[in-house]
Subunit: 542 residues, 2 copies
């Protein structure tokens, strides 16, 4: 019988000693639970992904010292498998170590290096060449790292040939919608091909635009899911494996949509704020649904005392907007300051009277208002040390329906990857959790979206309804389908062409956007690397 | 005798038909000159780098059609070698085609795919497996693409074995300081190893943060540089090769530093403006050296009629600053509008009186002023369709001595990769070109740098002198040296630690910065992918 502890922890990128501290504490809990080995996630020593930190030789040295330090500190306890950056004469490796009795007794080098989507591992690492099987408590355990499990081949074929009974797979696998199901499928495939137990250990936590959702699990050689750790929180799951049998504690079911999206947003926001040393966030409450939702998310994540809001009405704001903003703040019990922007706006108009003489008012005046609000929020950030949250959604970032340095201003944009229609879905779900009718007033959900930057403005003056817009964005951005293909599924070719052009032309804005949390298979940011200067203009007609 | 035309062109990313048009015109010039073949740069069909456009199947289809189209349109002329994206059952390839008599007669797939620095080629392409030698005018020519030439091995070893007399190497090789010398060295090494003529053809032009500087050349089998095309402009160089002999027109010498840097900045700025469809730029002239230099650069690049400036004095601006800004505009004959920001600033202070009650003025008030200026510049951009140029230098971006949404606001930041000390060097060089004492008044060069956001402020209140700061930035950012190593070369460890912390902590600002022109071996941006959330804090003491 082997007793394996799945150490689903939340390391911080770059915090080498902090991560050693964390693993030392968890290893001691695992030892107390009688585990033979505790398994930590991919690159748990450095945090994941360390990106170009790995290109600094001193950082790699310090990571190797940290691993030695972990080995020494845990010498009397159970064995440890953890992730670190190894260096050989072939280069740097994304590696797993087996640590036992204070020594590093085995090193495995990841064979498959992902270099797509958000991953750049071929930039910093070289491929490993061989499997690595170790003996523990009378059983053979194979080591593997993340992507190694995503396709047949090495090192799993070698473990199959050796009839290795248990393969450990340590991960830094980021969340997107539906990802837990994909992971379960690949774990099943590898279990069935290899005839081995698959012990899958994932990181949890937020790192810049990524959320690692946990969901560690144990899959039996027959492909059945036997045990799983929690999602979206740290967890130590102890599993006994003997032959075809296994025993572990039960955990609650993994959340379904849209709850899992909400949990991902909470984790991503909370870790970004905490790991960057902030104690408070500030955001503009417009009376619209996006800012109301971000306020709720922030309060659920950080607590009401760590969230403050500004309402910044202008001559174009309706009375209802200010009332609705005030009602949200009231229900959330957060501090709300009102700073009217009309006087400031008037003085700008005055200052520009001469150079703008003889021109027609338009977008310039609309954007000035949005940027006054951005400036005020940043002034609060500077004065009180609060991080500004930008409250724009994916639909707006996609088509550029947002003002650079205005409503796009902020240190973090939590719902940047959430399409508007999904914002409504999340609001309905969150309101259903209460208390009462929930934190977001019905009137906010019911009214037509408006930027309120000119009289009687509605989003639908400039954009198709979001029910029509969002599927086009999904098809073009996430699925890389051509305008022609999109129109062929029934949309008006002119509309598709217009939306696609808006998306292409907004690339320069997105390049200057705050980071936000990836929740779809393709988010804006490192996940989608489009040139700004791009003269490709495909048309939608066949 | 083979007559080869080196077609050093400036394609635009995504402009498939425009690039075909361009190559068709140049192929006809080459045909008139009696060339056997004209050689165009890497991925000339799509423009380089196409980044994730290549992940759209329809884009790859359209690029293949464009290549067919080029073949048909040039059927009666000389042969063509050009770069395109090929698709095989193994995946997508960064490829070179030989086009002859209206047909694609050979396809070569790049073997070495760079995946470091600014390059992500393993993200989108798969490696080629073999060399590709073609016969033309009685001689054998080997094909290769860019990175293939940067180290020994395939495909050059195969050409050496075959005794291929001429190897074509088509490139999308971006500029950085000293790069031309590096290229010459690798071309010599390959020539000597292979015993072949190396015909090196590079792109010219700007694409987002990259400048392709041209500098195409012909190196003889004995390693001597025989001919070179121009740098920083399009050029068609016709070379006759027979045995060990070659003939071509002379070109002027390549420019040395700092002129080459200035040429790179001109090309990068000019192409960014032109390829994104702008006809005018606008910038804030503070009276300081950075904005004065950017104004001169913009006028040299785009002409005085396409550049306008704003001077935006505040209560902390000296009379000299406004005079100096006015003098620069006068010398450059550009339109200068003055919009004083003090009234706007006062109304902001008034609006914030209540929420800021009981707090001390500080950074918040400084940044409000910078952001008022950003807002005004963006209003000009919105009203007149001019692109805003941000005028910050690399030293400021490195240590975060710049205001997000304030002086960092803009569509493009031309000197973002130019350290402050190099700005002065470039100013001295540019002034020496005249007319008279040059466009930048001596007083601007002589005065101590100041942000003028509070009374009597100097950059040296917050930062070490730039002569001391810039080498630390270079060592840490470009060379990836550790604080300890930097301090070991003689700098004060406390100072090094402070600078390194400033650099690390400004990552969140840089993530939202406008793109700018890479001129050093490591620029901020895609070249240096550091996590924002990063708790690695190495100290400088041994």
């Amino acid at each position: 019988m082997v007793r394996i502890a799945l150490g689903q922890i939340d390391p911080s990128v770059g915090d080498l000693e902090g991560n050693v501290e964390l693993m030392t504490a968890w290893a001691s809990r695992a030892t107390e639970a009688g585990a033979d080995v505790v398994v930590f996630p991919e690159l748990a020593i450095t945090g994941y992904p360390p990106e170009d930190l790995v290109l600094r030789p001193a950082f790699v040295d310090d990571n190797l010292s940290a691993l030695e330090h972990l080995a020494k500190r845990t010498a009397g306890g159970c064995s440890i498998v953890t992730g670190f950056v190894d260096r050989t004469d072939r280069g740097l490796h994304n590696a797993a170590a087996l640590v036992a009795n204070g020594e590093i007794v085995a090193r495995y080098h990841k064979v498959k290096l992902p270099n797509y989507g958000v991953f750049d591992e071929q930039r910093t690492f070289v491929r490993g060449a061989a499997e690595c099987a170790v003996r523990l408590a009378g059983s053979e355990l194979g080591l593997s790292v993340c992507e190694d499990a995503w396709a047949p081949g090495p090192p799993f074929d070698a473990y199959a040939a050796r009839k290795t009974p248990i393969v450990l797979n340590i991960n830094g696998s980021p969340y997107h919608r539906g990802k837990a199901g994909e992971r379960l499928e690949i774990a099943r495939d590898r279990a069935l091909e290899t005839g081995a137990w698959i012990v899958y250990v994932n990181t949890i936590g937020g790192q810049d635009e990524l959320v690692f959702d946990g969901g560690s699990m144990v899959v039996a050689p027959d492909g059945t899911l036997r045990h799983r750790a929690a999602m979206f929180r740290e967890d130590l799951l102890i599993v006994d494996i003997e032959g075809d049998h296994s025993v572990a504690e039960d955990r609650p079911d993994w959340p379904d949509e849209p709850e899992d999206i909400y949990r991902a947003l909470e984790l991503g926001l909370g870790d970004y704020v905490r790991k960057n040393g902030f104690e408070e966030v500030v955001l503009g409450l417009s009376g619209g649904v996006d800012s109301a939702f971000v306020a709720v998310l922030a309060v659920d994540t950080l607590g009401a005392a760590s969230v403050r809001a500004l309402t910044m009405p202008s001559r174009y704001s309706s009375a209802e907007s200010t009332e609705d903003a005030t009602e949200v703040a009231h229900r959330l019990r957060i501090r709300l300051d009102e700073v009217a922007i009309d006087d400031v706006f008037s003085v700008y108009l005055n200052a520009l009277r001469e150079p703008f003489h003889g021109t027609e008012p338009g977008l310039a005046e609309e954007n000035i208002q949005a940027r006054i609000r951005g400036n005020l929020l940043m002034a609060f950030s500077n004065r009180f040390g609060s991080m500004v949250l930008a409250t724009g959604n994916k639909s707006e970032y996609a088509v550029g329906y947002a003002t650079l340095y205005g409503d796009m201003a902020g240190g973090f944009a939590p719902i940047k990857d959430v399409p508007k229609t999904l914002v409504y879905e999340l609001v309905r779900w969150r309101n259903a959790q209460g208390p009462g009718e929930g934190p977001i007033p019905h009137r906010i959900v019911a009214k037509a979206p408006s930027a309120e930057l000119r009289p009687d403005q509605k989003d639908t003056d400039s954009l198709p309804p979001y029910e029509q817009l969002d599927p086009i964005i999904e098809a073009y951005v996430v699925e890389d389908r051509s305008p022609e293909e999109i129109a062929a599924s029934g949309d008006d070719p002119d509309l598709v062409e217009r939306v696609v052009q808006l998306i292409d032309r907004a690339e320069y804005k997105r390049r200057q956007a705050a980071p936000g949390i990836k929740i779809t298979p393709k988010a804006f940011g490192r996940d989608r690397r489009m040139p700004i200067t791009n003269r490709y203009r495909p048309d939608a007609s066949p």
